[in-house]
């Protein structure tokens, strides 16, 4: 198990970090209902 985890560990760690970034970015753009939040001009007006 240790051998499998340590094999190519640098690439695996990079993929994990990248996966977290991708997950975080998608999460920011997804409503709790699971819908992608489209950008509308009214959002900017509210700000």
């Amino acid at each position: 198990m240790k051998q499998i985890l340590l094999h190519n560990w640098k690439i695996k760690l990079t993929c994990l970090a990248l996966a977290f970034v991708v997950w975080y970015v998608i999460r920011q753009n997804v409503d709790p209902s699971g819908e992608l939040r489209p950008f509308t001009p009214t959002e900017q007006k509210k700000k």
Partner: protein, 264 residues
Amino acid sequence: MLGPMTQAIEFVQAHWTHGVEVVLLAVLLYYGYLYFRGTPGAKILVGLALIFISLTLASQLLDLHVIGWLLRSLTVFLAVALVVIFQPELRRALNELGSQHFFRSALQKKESIDQLVETVFDLARRQFGALIAIERDISIRQFASTGVDLDAVFSKELILTIFHPKTVLHDGGVIVQNDRITAAACIFPLTSREDLDRSLGLRHRAGMGITEESDAIAILVSEETGHVSLCHRGIIERNLNAEKFRRRLNQMLLLERYEANPPS
């Protein structure tokens, strides 16, 4: 003591699905990277991914709404473009997923190793020079295009025929992927190391070269002495006997206990 413990359990209960999502994404990225590395479209993929991730992060952090909207709108076109660019690779990936090689057991691998050992020492006995590169996680198929496509089942007879000094395919290396000989007479990059024994010829330098550029294993048989060598990650182990050769292959291909300091 109980408070933080309960909080930790509640946190795990509330967010374990997020962890699963991240791990699944990481696994997809890892195998995607290993699969596409070395293909002609890999550089395009890395370039597109870098641009996409940088722009997405910038639009998130700096609140760039127009860039964000453009990225979201272009995602569909990007997905279609990726399918078109990587059509051959995707077809091959789906083909491999459906093939039995993907689900091979350790026992089957062990049988393949036994067959490989027998073949290599038969080559050595006949003093046929040989260079066989066995692909592992990182693709080496870009070198296959430098030789002659075969896509044949691995067999001792075929390897002996390829490396017979009077055949047109005997110069260059053979590429083995998933028990299949995918190409012969391939040209591998030479190692750039200058501290090597002068007795090492071009075949050995090519064997070391390909293992420096990938995680492939290169098996070498000397035409002059009939000695068998093994290269891995740019390290060459020379003059191996059948038992040691088999043990090293088991360690590398079946991930059995690895020797702490392999001889250089």
